[in-house]
């Protein structure tokens, strides 16, 4: 047997084996395996999103259209919810136990250690009592958010609304995370990038009881939220509000533009809705109500997207094309023979100005015939194709038949039929002027949206050019504005040809026998043109475009009232009220105003 002293070798060996084993294990835990580092971060760090307040929107006179109000989301981190008094919690929030379970399940299915929204948008009024007691419920905390708020319930179609991002939004744009807000329509959508600002992040340390223990690494990993840019809108808040009042109980729209700049002063689509409805916890209920239970479809923005036949206002365009191409002169007189196409009023052999003033249909039938059939080909069909091609080109230059490159999402293009259109419709060589003559008086296949009509009024006021109608005159205080809004769009019509047309438009309003006597104002010379778009079995659409004053025009308007009778009756006086309101700030003819406010066509809309 060996000496007992040698046994120390065995003992020392055991010491060494344990020591080395532990070191290997520690090397594995600390250096090789990364999962523990991740777990540690998940437990001890809480990433709190610092939501950036969206930019505010002001009107052209720096009056607020949209601002933000604080609201509070209750967040939950499911794995930290331990031993809470569920019933007490439900009572605190005013929810049912079943709802609690459902929400917890939802949150868990998203992530057990990441925060999800448990209860959205608690208003400030309830916030105080909840936040006082929330500490008793581990795993829950409060996240401050902001909600849109509208000082006046107007301009909902212009401003649009925001909503929580959808999964599609998140996949499309990496910026967005679950729970973020995004502009869905109107300016909120168009200027989303400017308005949203930049989300910040705070990294906080929390202890095992989920109590905050200060910032992580002295806030070195924090990023501040950057507020969204404010927008300065071209809308005149008072004019917009007034227009919406005038259009109450009517279906249609008013678009007002400042001709010299293309700035939209008012964009009214009726019926409208209170933008405050689409904010906060009741948003989806209200939304569904507006969509499902309102046959008048208040969410539809008629001012930019409802396509109508333009009616007689289109005679202005025909006149200008006729003059520019030399087919007619101001002195050209045409007999009002009411054979192929009917007319109204007593006139027989008008010149151009008179024809516009009387809205003589046969006159423009003949003008359009000369534009289409120029005798450049022996084939009547070929000849019509050549004529239509030229006409289409010239009409398009007025902004018709195309989406105006404005800053209003969802703008419609309208329709100006071209050669292809009719070739598809009737077949090549199977149509000629006689097939398409309705276009001459703004009927037929023509389609325009109200903003294009207003743009026509502005173009005539400018005598030949327009700036694309737009809603934003400055992003933040920088004065920054999109390039295309300060670029002149030329119509290709010489400005001298506008003078007779403008004279005629003045006569329409200001001379006895004009169709728009109701648009007359004592102190301001209004120039306008009525339109009456015929409907079968129901009253006609009432159309009016105008601008004022005649010299150095400040406002151009298109008003469209569906199924209300002829243009002079409703759209003309509405436009006049708008003009007076905008230019003088005060409406003098209260009786005229009251007549409009009292008018309702709802029963007609309901008939269908």
């Amino acid at each position: 047997m060996r000496s007992l002293e040698d046994r120390k070798i065995v003992i020392l060996g055991i010491f060494i084996i344990i020591g080395v084993t532990y070191l290997i294990r520690l090397f594995y835990l600390q250096v090789i395996d990364e999962t523990y580092k991740l777990s540690a971060k998940n437990q001890a760090l809480r990433y709190v999103v610092q939501y950036a307040p969206r930019g505010l929107i002001y009107d052209r006179n720096n009056q607020l259209l949209v601002y933000n109000e604080a609201a509070y989301d209750i967040m939950v981190i499911p794995r930290q919810v331990k031993n809470i008094d569920t019933l007490g919690f439900c009572n605190l929030l005013g929810i049912e136990k079943a709802g609690f379970d459902l929400k917890m399940e939802e949150a868990k299915s998203f992530s057990t250690y990441k925060a999800s929204v448990f209860e959205k948008q608690i208003p400030s009024s309830q916030f105080a009592s909840i936040s006082e007691k929330l500490y008793q419920y581990s795993g829950f905390y409060i996240q401050k958010r902001t909600l849109r708020k509208y000082p006046k319930p107007i301009a909902s179609h212009v401003l649009g609304y925001v909503s929580e991002v959808s999964p599609t939004n998140i996949t499309k744009d990496k910026y967005y995370r679950k729970g973020d807000y995004i502009g869905i329509s109107g300016l909120e959508k168009e200027y989303e990038k400017e308005l949203r600002g930049k989300r910040g992040r705070k990294v906080l340390l929390v202890d095992v009881h989920n109590r905050q223990k200060g910032s992580y690494k002295n806030g070195n990993y924090d990023s501040l939220a950057v507020e969204g840019d404010n927008l300065y809108c071209t809308i005149d808040r008072d004019l917009q509000e007034y227009g919406e009042q005038l259009m109450r109980n009517k279906r249609g729209s008013i678009v007002a533009i400042e001709p010299a700049t293309g700035q939209i002063l008012a964009l009214i689509s009726s019926p409208s809705y209170d933008p405050n409805l689409l904010v906060g916890r009741d948003r989806s209920d209200n939304y569904n109500n507006l969509v499902a239970n309102d046959t008048l479809n208040p969410l539809f923005n008629r001012a930019i997207n409802a396509q109508y036949r333009p009616g007689s206002i289109f005679k202005l365009v025909e006149s200008l094309i006729g003059l520019q191409t030399g087919i007619i002169t101001t002195d050209t007189r045409i007999k009002c023979n009411r054979g192929i196409i009917n007319c109204h009023g007593s006139h027989s052999n008008d010149n151009l100005v008179e024809a516009i003033q009387h809205s003589c249909n046969p006159y423009f039938y003949q003008v359009y015939k000369k534009i289409i059939q120029q005798g450049k080909s022996n084939s009547i069909f070929k000849d019509s194709e050549i004529g239509l091609k030229q006409w289409h080109e010239m009409v398009t230059k007025f902004g018709f038949g195309q989406k105006l490159k404005s800053d209003i999402p969802g703008i419609g293009s309208g329709l100006v039929p071209d050669v292809n259109f009719y070739n598809k419709w009737y077949g090549e060589g199977r149509w000629a002027f006689s097939t398409i003559y309705s276009n001459s008086i703004g009927e037929g296949e023509l389609g325009v949206v109200p903003i294009q009509m207003a743009n026509l009024a502005a173009t005539i006021a400018n005598k030949g050019y327009y700036y694309t109608p737009h809603l934003i005159k400055s992003i933040s205080d920088s004065g920054r504005i999109r390039e295309e809004f300060v670029t002149k769009n030329l119509t290709g019509i010489d400005s001298k040809y506008f003078d007779p047309v403008i004279s005629a438009m003045s006569a329409v309003v200001n001379q006895d026998g004009g169709t728009a006597r109701r648009a007359r104002l004592d102190s301001i010379e209004v120039c306008g043109k009525t339109g009456t778009v015929q409907n079968k079995d129901r009253p006609d659409h009432s159309v009016f475009i105008c601008f004022a004053p005649r010299e150095n025009p400040k406002i151009a308007i298109a008003a469209y009232v569906e199924y209300s009778d002829f243009g002079g009756l409703w759209s003309a006086p509405i436009s006049a009220l708008m003009i007076e309101k905008y230019l003088t700030g005060e409406v003098t003819n209260k009786a005229k105003e009251q007549r409009i406010l009292d008018a309702s066509f709802l029963t007609i809309y309901e008939e269908k």
Partner: protein, 435 residues
Amino acid sequence: MRKNNTIRKNIDWFTILLFGILVFMGWLNIFAANYNEENASLFDFTQNYGKQAIFIITSLLLIFIVLVLDAQIFSSFAYPIYISGLILLIGVLIFGHEIKGAKSWFVFGGFSFQPSEFAKFGTALALTKYLNDLSKTAQQFKVRFTSILILLLPAGLIMLQPDTGSVLVYVAFIFVLYREGLSGNVLLLGISAAVFFILALLVKSTSIAIPFGLLLEGKIVLLLSVLTILGVIYLLFNSKKRKLLFPLLAIFVVISVYVFSVDYVFDNVLSSHQQDRINELLGITFDPKGAGYNVNQSKIAIGSGGFLGKGFLEGTQTKFNFVPEQSTDFIFCTVGEEWGFLGSFVLITLFVTLFFRLIFLAERQRSNFSRIYLYCVSSILFFHFAINIGMTIGLAPVIGIPLPFFSYGGSSLWSFTLLLFVGLRLDAERKHVLR
């Protein structure tokens, strides 16, 4: 003053240096584990680190007393010290304060005292004295029996508290007995028993499908494997077939009985939380929120430290109470988290160096008493170290025993200091032979 000079010359300053470093590092880590930015006074006596500072200062006093005492006293008073330890253990069962279901503490005002810590020192002295007086090896049956009785008395009393962790520490004395002549087979038997215990538990709930739609229980498979191995041994030693047959069969029978009784012992003797902890350790169950919570949190803290650690006072897992008992049993987590693998490496190296040094000191003694006692010291410290760190990294079951010199606590610090410095005092007398 001649005597004091001798001590200063002969005392092992290297061990004292290791002791000093460990105590200081321990205090730093206790400070870090309880650190609070709003209340960062170094000597706040309401905080653990403040109290530990007092314990450290008082243990310096204890060291002074131990060093000025005559070394002979420890030999002469070995049994009285041991018996007073036993009396304290009985006393605590009657007058003790119950904390977390165990009557382990005497509480006097703000301070409390744990007699089981002190009892280890007494037991070490008594065992040393007994083995030395006999001047015989631990091979004889009577010696073995009496030795084990010396260990069982305090262990049994501690078991009544109950404090399983402190009881298990008495296993450490097997190293001492082995060095003093206990058959190596006993050590081997102990290790085999542990291995089969673990194997039996691991195969407990498994079974293997065999043809004819039958299932073989895990235990049967285990025993069949053992039988095969024994069969191979039998065939390899072909020439001694006769001699081998009976012992091999006996081994097989013993193993079979043992394996089948493991289940019974496990289910009926161990308490349910002990069962859970063992199941968790062996990976039979995985329940990071229940039984496995402590170890899981401990591994997260240590694992998140990385190679260099998060830096002093930067540990989030320990500071913010994710790790339970972070000043006492799980103090190593703070080292792992804040000082990383580098810190862990230094700490483990320091401890292993200390154990080696103590064995070296033991083997240079002319006196058997000193040698045996130093082996006791080394074994006890090693056992604490192995279990404590092992449990924090998931290699040992969760047994609540402190890391020597490191963990927060007056009783343990004083007891370990006493244990160590009595050894150093004896070593300083190595030129004289003590009786």
